[in-house]
């Protein structure tokens, strides 16, 4: 529910600023002659990040093998997201919009263009917090499962990995179809195949689909 509320706010914010026609003094591409002011952008981005920030790490981790690469890709995703922010269309949900940006960035990310680390300060910090109302055993179970899931995802083809990520984040078929640009029925077929692959990779684990 909270997510739906925030998305509504974002839509309104974009709508409001697109009709107010504030021209930016920013080197950001102007779509249809409209753009957001810098401050509004920041506000919007921080709001969005509050909701989807952890997904940045998830996608980055799913498509990289080391923590350094994960950090690089996560920052790249955020940069792309910021760059794409002025073109955000209200007809797309924030979640699908984010995944489009994240997956596209991940698919195009080259492991050899990472020297940014040497000349760029870290843009983000990940705070490891123990969630409330979660007993220790469960927490350990979840942590183990997540590690296994990442290991399995690393072995999947890129498209299957994307589907699994969307499935694990509980996006609907329609949202998945929006992210991937394919039909919902096609999503069903491919997701079943991806889950089957994931299941085989997770063999030995007591939980089944």
């Amino acid at each position: 529910m909270a997510r739906a509320m925030r998305e509504k706010q974002l839509h309104e914010l974009f709508f409001e600023y697109s009709v107010s026609q504030h021209l930016l003094a920013l080197p950001i591409p102007i779509e249809d002659g409209f753009a957001l002011r810098e401050e509004d952008q920041k506000t919007l981005f921080m709001t969005w990040l509050e909701e989807h920030g952890s997904s940045v790490i998830k996608v980055a981790r799913a498509y990289t093998l080391t923590s350094e690469e994960c950090q690089d890709l996560a920052q790249e995703i955020m940069l792309q997201a910021w760059r794409s922010l002025p073109k955000f269309e209200a007809k797309a949900s924030a979640a699908t919009w984010f995944y489009r940006v994240a997956l596209h960035t991940a698919m195009n990310w080259q492991r050899n263009d990472k020297p940014r680390r040497s000349r760029q300060q870290p843009l983000m910090e990940v705070d490891a917090l123990a969630p409330e109302s979660m007993n220790g055993v469960k927490q350990v179970q979840y942590q183990e499962t997540v590690v296994q899931l990442y290991n399995a995802i690393h072995q999947l083809p890129k498209t299957d990995a994307a589907l699994v990520l969307l499935y694990l984040d509980q996006l609907s078929y329609r949202e998945m179809a929006e992210v991937l640009g394919i039909s919902e029925s096609n999503v069903g077929v491919k997701l079943n195949r991806a889950k089957k692959s994931l299941s085989e990779l997770m063999k030995g684990h007591k939980h089944e689909f």
Partner: protein, 742 residues
Amino acid sequence: MNSDDQLGPDFYQQAWRAQSSQAPVTVDADLLFQQVQRNQRDFRATINRRDFAEIGISLLLLPVWIYMGVATASPWTWYLTVPALIWIAGFLLIYRLRHKPQPIPSDNPLLRCVECSLTEVEDQIWLLRNVFWWYLLPPAIPMLAFIAHLSWLKSNNSLDALSDANVFVFVFILAVFYFLYFINQRAVRVELEPRRRELLALLSSLGTEKTDDSPEKLDTTNLAKSDECLGKIGRWFLVAVSCFLTLVVVALAGGLFDSSYEGPPQSIGPAGESLAGLVTNLRNEKDLVGLAAMVVVDGEVEAAAANGERMKGSSVPVEIGDRWHLGGIAKSITATMIARLVESGQMQWTDTLGDCFPDASLHEDWKPVTLKQLLTDTAGAPANFPIEVRRIRPPLGPECTLARREAVFEVIANQPEYPPGEKYVYSNVGCTIASAMAEKVTGASWKDLVIREVYEPLVLITAGFGPPKSPDRTLPEPRGHRAVLGGKVSVDDEADNTTIMGPSGIVHMTLSDLCTYATDQMRGELGEGKLLSTETYQLLHTPEFSYYAFGWIKKEPNKEHPYAQYWHNGSNTMWYAMVVFIPEKNMVIAVTSNDGDIESAQTAALDIVRASVNRSYAIAQPTQGTDFLKKSPFAAVRWQDSQPEVELDGQWFRLFAIDGLLTDDILAFSKNTYGKLWQKRFEEDLVEILTRMGHPPKETVQLVVQTLIHPIDTRTLNKVPMTSENRRAIKAAAQARADTES
């Protein structure tokens, strides 16, 4: 799993969701914003840099190229690169406009993003795969044409353009262009193709098949690879053919513009004009760059002539007073120098290598080898030094003496090629070893010894070492020429064999000095030499085995030439020289050429020697308006292997000579003078030929003939009448043959 979470999240989803709450992300928004700006700048800068590098440099090069062309007064082919540069800049400009680089919108559906990425990658692959056509070939062709053109302009004939340096530049440019092609194709193979395959796999996994592959066959199937391979072969075949055709065109163009030298010959002496005619004819017939000859009889120049160019294409004529490289004739000069050392008691013909070099590590078989054996090529020495020795050029003098001794020690440390003293084998090494012994004994260099013992006593003021110096375009002396692909390429005035084997072949002098030297050798035979005793001269000219003496070859008398001839020739493959002395005729003949076509030069030299011995020089200009008698001593003439057989009193004979003139000489003159009609002229115009050769026949002639049936014998027929009937019969037979053939 069903859609819309109707069954609630499963365990994996719960675990996944749990991690979200465990890892809240804090972002420095200001820093992120700055980074976005920086990225935008970097992206633009990258695009600008690339466009400037590719388009800007091409455009900037235009004025630079034109300025350089004007400043260096380059030939017109230099400017062929200008349209190529305009083409490259224009092509790139249009291509960039049509494929404007834009960051792919990141918020498009994944399928759309992958398609955009694929299009971008395929554009790049197309660009790099076709780099040969739009980027490499346009400038390569004018550049290669310019190099070829420049080579030709700087050369003196078409084949100079194919000299080593020009071919190297040609190949170097091709190599540079191939390297550029290679790195571009490598980028396609290593970077772009894997990326494309990855994107195609993504597309395929997203449930779409790319079926509209471009006709360039960008897919990486085996068929495409084989097509690509064939394409590569085709391209480089095209380049190879283009280069070959360019070179051929240059060579042919050069050939068209290579005017064969037609300048007049130079001559001196009573028979100089006649010899000049022969020299000119032979030079033209043998296609020699320059040819010169001198005949000295009784110490006086009877004839001397020179015709041709000092350097091919220069139009600077060779002169009688020019200096010529003598090659192996140096061997007799070295032997004469050492003979002087022997006569002065500094050396003995029986001196051995073991005695001379007691400290050297000689092979046992070399120790008893004598000075005499070394100078007569009977020591078992190899024909030449190893290639590593032939490559070095220490300056003549003490440095060369040391290097020569080292090279000699290398040779004599190993077993001789064959047992010493058993047979003659021509060698450039034996004479060099003998010189090293002389240098060891006297402490002087070979060069100084030759000057002191030969050049100065005989006052050979033009004699020197190596090729004659002709350093600039004024060409004060001839240049040597190398025979390449049937043509002639001039060489610089330093091109010669290594100075280490100088004693065997690096001297030069004029024809006059060469004749002076040979005359002294000849007079020495008669007891009138300036340098040595008669006995020593005779020793120098006496063959040790078969026919070879101390740098002289003795040709024993025979029926054709009833007198002994002593001769030697020499060539460093860029020059040719021959010297002959005939004591019985008190005659010295020297022939030289600045042409490394040894076979042609040798043939010309032998013709000159034969003509000189017979005093049958060609008359340069036929007497105008002379009606030669139409007579013949033969009733009929037929040909067997290009040799005439003649009918006399109903019997056929092989013809050897007419009035002392050898049939071979008469035929050679007829060939030189009349070309294809030489046989017809011999049959029908014998009087004219003999007259032009300086031997007009009388009413009767002397014939030397050989019977064709057993018992075969050679007869001298005196007073054979020259009749008109004979000539008419020959003419009628020729007419009948012509009618039959037609």
